[in-house]
Homo-oligomer: 483 residues x 2
């Protein structure tokens, strides 16, 4: 509720309440370890606390902020807790949060170059920086035929890659006449589920997605890929797209890009590489081996919003040939025509993704890169990998747990020798404790626990405490099993 | 650059720099009218100021913020300026900006109920509130068979509606076998270009999008729609989807929902209603006539990020039957399985849109509704409409300008009688002045200026000054034409 007769928040109130929210956030990070990492509310519990009707008259900002404490906090799973080891991280940082704040304050739209040139140009520039920072092929830079764009998620990026592949394979015919059920896409059994979602959305049909078998390191088997492509061609189908992954979601497996890329070149298929979390590791030269063969990729994405301290959403999506992407997604109604667009001298990012409108997301990425510097970012990546490797070593040193997959970076897949039910119970107990949060997967039909180190504020003692609790909880469970 | 040995921003520095950014934003709004509304930089100008290499070592936050002033501001088109009358607005407000800040600070992921129950439940709750606030059919509420979800944009919402329509029409066969080129979608010549984009993305093909003719108010002609559907059926095609618009982008035309809805029911087609900007007007009972027939719609969307003081992105998308949407978009890999999902007692919003990850966007919407109250929001909608209606009246009172379309709400389409080139030159001069920003469209093959009132801080004197400048600039142009 504003004192202002027009109901708006006055500039003075904005300063006052802005400080209050900034302080609230600083306080939140200082007390974050006091909350259960995984929210313990029951379904409907949060809604039950909310009034059934919206307020007719405005309320005081203080009471809104108080309700965040009382009603919202108990219903949060604390992704920014240093004891969050679940899924992949979605880490954030001070400079990112303030970049997002500034972006919200400016409130500009970046759909066209002309609707805020700096939004487009900073994005292009920072994404070019990242090509160098990660040692990616220079073809992905805007001064070559390619370029980068920020998308909301790797799911959307994969969809755009698939659409571009679909149009390249049909000479833009699918856009015109629609799909005809003959296009085929390839991934592995370990590829992220967003590729299956994309194949459905894009009208290929899930029957035309081939999930290629993986080897004992859970990496896609190129020999099987070749066989399947040949089979599909024999059946009169049209192979068009392969998704390879650098760091799969289940186990961080690294698909062999060079071999897959060679096949894609040979067969004329679009190669998209998904490096959603692990891609960030390439900031450090010693981990760039995982990108060997990237020069054969048509598109690539990784998510600074996972492991590069940039709050969601910020997926960086690169294409080697921007014309194909633009031709795939462009529509130009009269009300969006403008001189800059028609000059051809500028990028209009609306043609690079699904939505038309877009926030100024490169601001937060720019803030993060400048505030940490490349060396600051590398420091944390190395530290997280080191902590995860310690954890993997501890697993290897026990006789009760086993590693279930290679742990090349910051994700450790492990299980207790007690079997699937035991591991399920172990996970439940750990998460219900509120002290830590882990998630699971299945590998070779076994129930497996995942331990991923990537939260901004995770330190050695958090990982050590987590490991102690895992061991102690397992011991308790072993005893109750014996009873 | 942090003083911290681990490169992170310390809590104290976060408080300090957070205040600096809050104050920066407050200052920005106080000086926003001193900037040219439309950025006057040339292509490449912003990039030319940026260093070609990212910094190896972190930099001081102060110098980053200073660069926002020096490098970024000149490259912005100021969407939050009260003199912004272009496109549709993308208005923001103090409570929305602070809600976005809080969301960034919390940094949680709302992809599953379990990954932060409050994120899901607050969203469901606030979107239920909005059904009542807008007088929408109660079937869109979560306690009926429907429900609402926040999407990034009306583009994405339309795509999801089309996908659900596609799957309903093919009994989920398109998801499985892929599209076969026989599905047909319908819109009008005035429908937003995102529907054409969606038809391409979804594999229907743009040849299978019928752009139905409009009447002299630029509204879709139901008689033509019926004829086209019959023709398509005769041709062995499968009509599946109609997009009707409440407030088209070009001219704010209102498609007749009742008649279109009747046809859709008769023919078994999915009716999606796009109320991107104008939908907000339904906060005021006197404008709800435009929603007559909404009870026949299968889905609906409107954008609080356009005209409801909630910074982008915040599109509210409703479906009458959530099961169809969920069945269309759901994929469930092992690593996302959890007890809450399997209980069926919760909503997992990842199945309601394209991306997997999602921000806590309902926070800012909740902040806005609570801070303004329903009456505060209504006050501004009525005020904007009144200001636009004044402008339309002034146009009608001159002998040099004409109204080119009905102006039911806050958008006025007009032109000078001097012809297309004259109007183009007029627009260029106005925008180059930096004082105001308008955009154009074409209606009945004529070049038309659009004047949309919806910016948060636009007052009577801004509209009056704009009108004076339009008249004066036209007079200057008339004189130079005579020379």
């Amino acid at each position: 509720m504003s004192d202002n007769k027009n109901f708006h928040m006055t500039p003075d109130d904005f300063r006052k309440y802005g400080r209050a929210v900034v302080d609230w956030i600083a306080d939140y990070y200082e007390r974050i370890e006091s909350f259960p990492v995984l929210s313990q509310v029951k379904p409907g519990q949060t809604r039950g606390l909310l009034p059934s009707e919206p307020p007719a008259l405005g309320e005081a900002f203080e009471s809104i902020l108080k309700d965040v404490d009382n009603l919202i906090i108990p219903g949060l799973t604390h992704w920014q807790s240093p004891n969050f080891f679940a899924f992949f991280p979605a880490n954030a940082s001070g400079p990112a949060i303030l970049g997002e704040l500034l972006s919200a304050g400016l409130g500009i739209q970046g759909m066209l170059w002309s609707t805020s040139p700096a939004c487009t140009e900073l994005e292009t520039h920072v994404l070019d920086w990242l090509v160098d920072m990660l040692g990616l092929p220079t073809k992905f830079k805007s001064d070559a035929a390619g370029g980068g764009v920020i998308q909301d998620s790797a799911s959307s990026a994969s969809l755009c890659a698939l659409l571009a592949a679909r149009e390249r394979a049909t000479e833009y015919g699918s856009n015109q006449q629609g799909c005809d059920g003959r296009l085929v896409a390839y991934a592995s059994t370990q590829t992220h589920s967003s590729v299956e979602k994309a194949v459905k959305i894009a009208g290929l049909g899930s029957q035309n997605l081939r999930l290629i078998r993986v080897d004992d390191r859970f990496a896609l088997r190129p020999d099987d890929l070749v066989k399947q492509i040949k089979q599909d061609r024999q059946d009169g189908l049209i192979p068009c797209f392969v998704c390879a992954t650098v760091g799969t979601t289940s186990s961080n497996a690294m698909d062999p890009l060079s071999e897959i890329g060679g096949i894609c070149r040979e067969e004329g298929l679009w190669l998209h590489v998904d490096g959603a979390m692990s891609g960030t590791a390439a900031l450090c030269p010693e981990y760039r081996y995982m990108h060997d063969g990237m020069e054969l990729a048509d598109s690539y994405c990784f998510n600074p919003h996972k492991w590069m301290f940039t709050n969601f959403d910020c997926d960086c999506f690169y294409v080697a040939d921007r014309e194909i992407l633009i031709k795939t997604l462009s529509v130009l109604p009269e009300y969006l025509r403008n001189k800059a667009t028609e000059s051809g001298a500028v990028i209009d990012y609306r043609d690079w993704h699904i939505p038309l409108g877009r926030r100024f997301r490169s601001l937060k990425l720019w803030f993060v890169i400048r505030y940490y510097g490349v060396e600051g970012l590398r420091y944390h990546i190395r530290r997280h990998v080191e902590l995860a490797q310690n954890f993997a070593r501890w697993i290897g040193e026990t006789d009760r747990f086993e590693l279930v997959a290679p742990a090349p970076l910051n994700l450790v897949c492990f299980r207790h020798l007690g079997g699937d039910t035991f591991n399920q119970q172990l996970l439940d107990r750990l998460n219900q404790s509120g002290n830590i949060y882990l998630t699971h997967t299945t590998l070779n039909n076994k129930y497996v626990l995942r331990f991923c180190v990537g939260q901004t504020h995770t330190e050695e003692h958090h990982v050590y405490q987590a490991w102690r609790q895992i061991q102690e909880t397992a011991k308790e469970l072993e005893k109750s099993d014996l009873r």
